[in-house]
């Protein structure tokens, strides 16, 4: 529906990501590099998943179970990859600290580590938005629009843009929660992340039911809000604890 609508959909999906990028990440070049590498990792994990599932696609049935297996395996694989990502992050942290010692600069601050986690999460979210929403948005720049059978009330592009928005937020902040959880060793945080991801992905299964997207979309936004709130509480607690321990030295 014309260039204006296409740009609008892009901004719906990527608005918060772009503002995060411009305000936080663009200022530090290393975070941009972290973002690019984490986007690449997510893409590689997606390609591996697509390769594993290629033989079974296209799924012709309208039953629920093939899609739920798809979702379960995909989310499980990605959460497994997240642990690997965290190991890489620890190694990088050690290298950065060694480098900081060599050039006699201070080691990584707590806020630095959280910024790195944020950049990593934003890379994942960006990759999701780009591959699941933006790459399919090309017809939206033309003169017409498209409706899916199961959801005749909202244009397809708008639904995918809103879902992408929800997932950008979920991916970004669950990376912050996950890294903090693995660093501190708190089970609650470590369990929360795969749980939230799985629930969000299962919510999109509701979209398979005719008219389900009217319920699925708000639920997904609630899930994204929950992740945001949890991450906010976690970071707040961590920073205040850190302040008090430092001032008590």
């Amino acid at each position: 529906m014309t260039v204006a609508a296409g740009v609008g959909y892009v901004l719906i999906a990527l608005g918060p990501a772009l503002s995060l990028f411009a305000s936080v990440i663009a200022k530090k070049p290393f975070l941009i590099l972290t973002l690019l590498s984490s986007t690449l990792f997510w893409l590689i994990s997606l390609i591996i998943l697509a390769g594993a599932w290629r033989a079974f696609l296209p799924v012709k049935s309208t039953e629920l179970w093939p899609y739920s297996i798809l979702i379960l395996t995909s989310v499980g694989f990605q959460e497994g990859i997240r642990i690997g990502f965290w190991r890489l992050f620890k190694k990088m942290e050690d290298m950065l600290n060694a480098f900081a010692d060599r050039v006699s600069k201070p080691r990584l601050f707590l806020t630095d580590k959280m910024l790195l986690a944020l950049a990593g999460g934003l890379g994942h979210g960006l990759a999701h938005a780009v591959f699941f929403c933006l790459s399919l948005l090309t017809p939206a720049f033309g003169p017409a629009t498209f409706y899916v059978d199961k959801c005749p009330s909202i244009p397809f592009f708008l639904i995918s843009a809103i879902i992408a928005l929800g997932f950008v937020i979920i991916h970004t902040f669950s990376m912050v929660i996950a890294f903090n959880g693995y660093t501190e060793g708190k089970r609650k945080d470590q369990i929360f992340v795969p749980f939230a991801h799985l629930i969000a992905a299962l919510i999109t299964l509701i979209n398979l039911v005719p008219g389900g997207c009217n319920i699925g979309l708000p639920l997904l936004c609630i899930m994204a809000g929950t992740t945001l709130y949890y991450s906010w509480q976690l970071v707040w607690r961590r920073l205040t604890e850190h302040q008090t321990t430092r001032s008590s030295d």
């Binding site: 070049p29 997606l46 699941f132 992408a164 430092r246």
Partner: protein, 414 residues
């Protein structure tokens, strides 16, 4: 515990973290490459909707004056769309003949450089840049004007084109020009040349990319490779090779940073001038022995030029990656062009391949920079990125697209 404990508050300590400045020179080379790719993708997607007849006539017009590509284009036009096997055969022939021509011309360049005909080379390159900016730029502007229906009269157009081309030639070759104009015009030359290359037929483009990356690998790393000879010649004479090279703006040295040095086997020297990359005059070099400790992350290579004749046999660009006189990273314009050709060709299929190939090329560039920091000699920048780009293009087209479309059309996302 001193102030520099792991968790000190940056605001009260008043010190900046290493995260503030690390990786800045890499970003300064990643941004123009990304910009070039974005512009080529925009050009390709806005101009590809011109009807087939006009675009094929235009490619016929251009290709009739070039030896390597005329064969396949004329062949395709005269015989209509061939079977895939015919296309592959003609693509291989074209790519092979192109590589042979480039090799011969690079050896010619080495010969000319050996006999110190540097003025001839500079004038030649100036004329070829003028050609690219005026003819190619004019042609592509005409396509854009007719496509976007911009109202402009021929006289204004001629004056603008003349001005922009002449200033472009000066910006690229005069040593004291403002660096942003220099960089901007280099990116513009890269965009124009890359767009022209995307007008080749599909199989030919892919065969050409793979052939050029293999040639780059051979020419730089083999002992008889022309580029290696050129680099060693330039190093032994302390001269800059006249070539089109993008040099990133040097990073301001922070207090406490080591000075980046230019290392050549045994001696350590620092160039006196800042922006001079393309002057053929021998630079006044201060041979200073500095007691400097290990460099940081900057790759330490000489200016690494490769002059490959790209189109119409009139242009020389550089390939490969190296360290400039002021310590900034240098990337040859040929690399810009071939990265953008790959992404532009991916754009002709779908945007998903564009994103995947962009990420692959950035990954390849990162790997090349890492290898540069480890090996400390001239390295080709094409092979890793192009190979990764081709692999990701194939994987996306075969595997990813079906998967993503299947999931998204059912509104199933994770």
């Amino acid at each position: 515990m001193d102030d520099r404990s792991a968790d000190s508050d940056p605001v009260t300590a008043g010190e900046s973290s290493i995260l503030d400045t690390l990786g800045e020179d890499v970003i300064r080379i990643v941004s123009p490459v990304s910009l070039c790719m974005v512009l080529v993708v925009l050009l390709v997607s806005s101009l590809s909707s011109t009807n087939d007849l006009s675009s094929s006539i235009s490619s016929l017009f251009l290709s009739s004056t070039t030896t390597p590509t005329s064969f396949s284009s004329l062949n395709l036009l005269l015989l209509g769309s061939d079977s895939t096997w015919e296309e592959i055969k003609s693509a291989l022939v074209t790519a092979l003949s192109f590589v042979v021509v480039v090799t011969l011309l690079t050896f010619l360049l080495v010969l000319l450089f050996y006999f110190r005909c540097t003025n001839f080379l500079r004038i030649y390159m100036g004329i070829s840049s003028l050609f690219v900016l005026s003819f190619l730029g004019g042609f592509i502007s005409l396509l854009l004007i007719s496509h976007l229906k911009i109202p402009i009269d021929p006289f204004t157009f001629a004056i603008l084109l003349f001005n922009l081309s002449v200033v472009g030639v000066f910006a690229v070759f005069m040593p004291k020009f403002p660096i942003s104009m220099n960089q901007g015009y280099l990116v513009a030359i890269g965009v124009l040349t890359a767009y022209w290359f995307t007008m080749l037929p599909e199989w030919t483009t892919w065969a050409l990319l793979i052939a050029m990356s293999l040639y780059d690998l051979a020419a730089v790393l083999l002992p008889i490779g022309p580029l290696r000879l050129l680099v060693e010649l330039a190093m032994s004479r302390n001269e800059e090779i006249p070539a089109l090279v993008y040099e990133a703006r040097p990073v301001d040295p922070q207090p406490g940073d080591r000075v980046r040095v230019w290392r050549e086997r045994t001696d350590v020297r620092i160039e006196a001038t800042e922006n001079s990359t393309n002057s053929a005059n021998v630079q006044t070099v201060q041979e200073t022995r500095l007691a400097v400790s290990e460099e940081i992350t900057a790759p330490l290579i000489e200016a690494f030029p490769q002059t490959g004749d790209r189109h119409l046999g009139t242009e020389e660009e550089e390939d490969g990656i190296g360290l400039g006189s002021s310590g900034a990273i240098k990337l040859g314009l040929g690399d810009f062009i071939f990265y953008s050709v790959l992404v532009g060709r991916a754009a002709m299929y779908d945007y998903m391949t564009v994103y995947a190939c962009y990420l692959a090329i950035m990954a390849g560039l990162g790997v090349t920079l890492l290898l540069l920091a480890v090996y400390r000699k001239a390295l080709p920048a094409l092979p890793v990125s192009i190979m990764l780009g081709v692999v990701f293009y194939l994987l996306t087209r075969v595997l990813l697209e079906v998967f993503v479309v299947q999931c998204s059309s059912n509104l199933l996302m994770f």
